[in-house]
């Protein structure tokens, strides 16, 4: 749920409670005020009547006496303290022939040694008559508030939260690998300011760390190269010298280990370079031709393992990819398909404008297939490879925005690469034109 919607809902709930309480307050206040005003009026009327009595004379026809009752009471009945009180209640109104709410005000006077009780009354609107009016007005208030809140919840956040949304956008597009420090929008809101400062600090630190890590990796790999070359040269010179068989074995083992070291090294360097986006090109490469060439160059190896190659290669498949990367991609995939194959197995290659699919028979991998894309992960831990080929393949795919998947089913390892980001690689497997006809 959006922050603004949450806020709006909360505000609305609070408003509802406030309005309900406010409604009750208004209702009782009005009601009390009306009574109060009436009581004061009647007290004045009672005073007037008392004045008339005091002056003497006949006022029985006077309009003041219309709803007044004057009783002479014994002195003992005079209340102590307040000399006036009022009562409210429903009473019969003969004028309207209906039961109405009646307010009765009774006052006591001592006039010329006599004691009087003067009672006047009038009919006022009852609570129940007021209630619909109160409810109605609050309904309107609520409606107006609702409309205003709805509109403002759309407009105000846009204005107030705009620095936040811009910050979010900047963060979203932040990429460590591009090595560009982020530039956050100016804001006067202190929380956003704080957030921006924090983000800026964090990303700058991340960039710095990334940079130093990369530099370390690059330097380490560069500095390792020369010693490796020296050791290799010495070993090669040593091989030429007059050596015993057991020494030869030792040298060969050293040579093997060194070879592996230098392979790991060059693969890591390559991966670093891929990450650094050192391979950019504007010229599309003809993948059809390259795939055929790659398959031909591996022909001997395929035959040595007695593998059956079936392929379907569409003509004129051009993609935007550096030619050495395309070469690397195909070489890695094809050699993988050969190496992890079983003697007498099959390799199937399908190249269309949308993607490339390479399937080969092979043993069940001992780790989940998705993990095989990780560096130094091998399907068979005992194998002699260093397990970096697929990591390179994935890196190239990531670089080019290709979608890649690896599937293992029914002794078939299948790698599918979609050249179009909009088409998932799994889709390629569905419209695959397998079984393919044999070629070469």
């Amino acid at each position: 749920m959006k922050l603004t919607n949450k806020f709006t809902l909360w505000y609305f709930a609070i408003m509802l409670v406030v309005l309900l309480i406010g409604g009750a307050i208004v209702y009782y206040e009005i009601q009390w005020k009306i009574s109060k005003v009436e009581v004061v009026r009647h007290q004045r009327l009672n005073d007037l009547i008392a004045q008339q009595i005091r002056t003497g004379g006949d006022f029985s026809g006077s309009p003041t006496r219309k709803r007044a009752a004057i009783d002479e009471i014994p002195a003992g009945n005079m209340p102590k303290g307040a000399n006036s009180y009022y009562t409210r209640g429903v009473g019969w109104n003969p004028e309207f022939q209906a039961n109405e709410y009646r307010l009765v005000v009774t006052s006591f006077y001592a006039i010329n040694g006599k004691y009087y009780r003067i009672t006047t009354y009038s009919y006022i609107p009852s609570f129940y008559q007021l209630l619909p009016g109160v409810v109605d007005s609050f309904k309107w208030i609520l409606l107006v508030l609702l409309v205003l809140v709805a509109i403002s919840s759309k407009l105000i956040p846009k204005y107030i939260l705009s620095p936040l949304s811009r910050t979010l956008k900047v963060i979203q597009y932040f990429d460590l690998k591009q090595r560009k420090p982020i530039r956050l929008p100016e804001t006067r809101t202190s929380e956003f300011k704080e957030l921006n400062i924090f983000l800026k600090k964090m990303t700058d630190k991340a960039l710095e760390d990334y940079q130093s890590l990369k530099e370390f990796a690059e330097n380490a790999s560069h500095e390792l190269q020369t010693p490796t070359a020296i050791i290799r040269g010495k070993l090669e010179l040593l091989m030429e010298s007059d050596i015993q068989d057991d020494q030869a074995i030792l040298i060969a083992e050293m040579h093997n280990a060194l070879e592996k070291l230098s392979r790991i090294h060059s693969s890591l360097t390559l991966l670093t370079k891929l990450e650094n986006k050192e391979y950019v090109t504007e010229i599309p490469v003809c993948l059809s031709e390259l795939t055929r060439e790659t398959l031909v160059s591996f022909d001997e190896l395929i035959q040595m393992k007695s593998l059956t190659l079936k392929c379907h290669i569409e003509d004129n498949v051009y993609i935007h990819l550096h030619s050495s990367l395309a070469d690397l991609l195909l070489t890695n995939l094809v050699s993988n398909a050969i190496r992890h194959n079983i003697p007498g197995g099959t390799i199937r290659v399908s190249l269309t404008k949308t993607g490339l699919v390479i399937a080969n028979s092979g043993l069940t991998p001992q780790v989940p297939v998705t993990e095989l894309f990780e560096r130094f992960k091998k399907g068979d831990p005992a194998s002699d490879s260093i397990g970096i080929g697929l990591a390179i393949v994935r890196q190239i795919c990531e670089l080019m925005n290709f979608n890649i998947i690896y599937e293992y089913a029914a002794s078939q390892h299948t790698i599918a690469i979609s050249f179009q980001p909009s088409i998932p690689a799994s889709k390629l497997l569905q419209n695959l034109s397998f079984p393919l006809y044999p070629v070469l």
């Binding site: 090669e236 010179l237 068989d245 074995i249």
Partner: protein, 230 residues
């Protein structure tokens, strides 16, 4: 052949030197751009091995000088930087080949020979050894007068052997030579064994001498003196 090794790592330079001296080359070493300029102005070299990362500058700068003043020299760049740009710039500036460290010395030797053949033998592409004749342009091989039916890889292998005759060639070095940089995925050296086996069989069938022998534990060797023994 006179070779100038411009390489700032003394040990590496000495390795190359030792290897090439055994081939009968005359080698000289220097480890800075300045020293290289001086040597070049004083002597003439058939081949220059140029390291790009030198303490006093980028070796690429030397290429301009070599191309204008000392045209007759072949240049093979040896670099620790396997950057595509370096390679392209190096070759565009007139280097004849580019080799990335760490390399096999036999590979370096093969490259030097190839570059030398291309430029100095007046357009002949024939490599001859006793009864074996290889045409590096058409990839045809002859044993005496009998054509040898070899695949491209076997041809490359034979050429590699002949260039590096009397040397122990490790399986790794052969694999790297035949399949290039991406041998990780072909670490299985059975392929090398297969190729060598096929090559020996084919030479034998064509009536040639079996010069190639297995060196226990290490690899193979092309024995130039074999004929005398048989």
């Amino acid at each position: 052949m006179k070779v100038l090794i411009i390489e700032d790592h003394q040990e590496l330079a000495r390795n190359i030197n030792d290897f090439l001296v055994k081939e009968g080359y005359i080698c000289e070493q220097c480890c800075t751009l300045e020293a290289a300029r001086e040597k070049l102005s004083l002597f003439q070299y058939d081949c220059i091995l140029l390291d790009i990362g030198l303490p006093d500058g980028n070796g690429i700068h030397l290429l301009d000088l070599i191309r204008t003043e000392y045209k007759q020299s072949n240049v093979v760049i040896i670099s620790a930087r396997n950057a595509v740009d370096d390679k392209i710039i190096g070759l565009e500036k007139g280097a004849d080949d580019y080799l990335t460290k760490p390399f096999h010395l036999a590979e370096l030797h093969a490259r030097i020979r190839a570059v030398y053949r291309r430029k100095n033998l007046g357009g002949t592409y024939i490599v001859e050894f006793n009864e074996i004749r290889l045409n590096t342009d058409t990839f045809e091989a002859l044993i005496g007068e009998t054509p040898l039916d070899v695949t491209r890889k076997e041809f490359d292998l034979l050429l590699y052997f002949i260039v590096n005759k009397n040397r122990v060639l490790s399986r790794q070095s052969i694999a790297a030579h035949l399949w290039g940089d991406y041998t990780d995925n072909l670490a299985n050296f059975d392929f090398v064994y297969q190729h060598v086996k096929n090559l020996r069989r084919k030479i034998g069938n064509a009536g040639g001498t079996d010069y190639i022998s297995t060196v226990y534990g290490l690899g193979y060797k092309f024995n130039a003196h074999k004929e005398a023994e048989t």
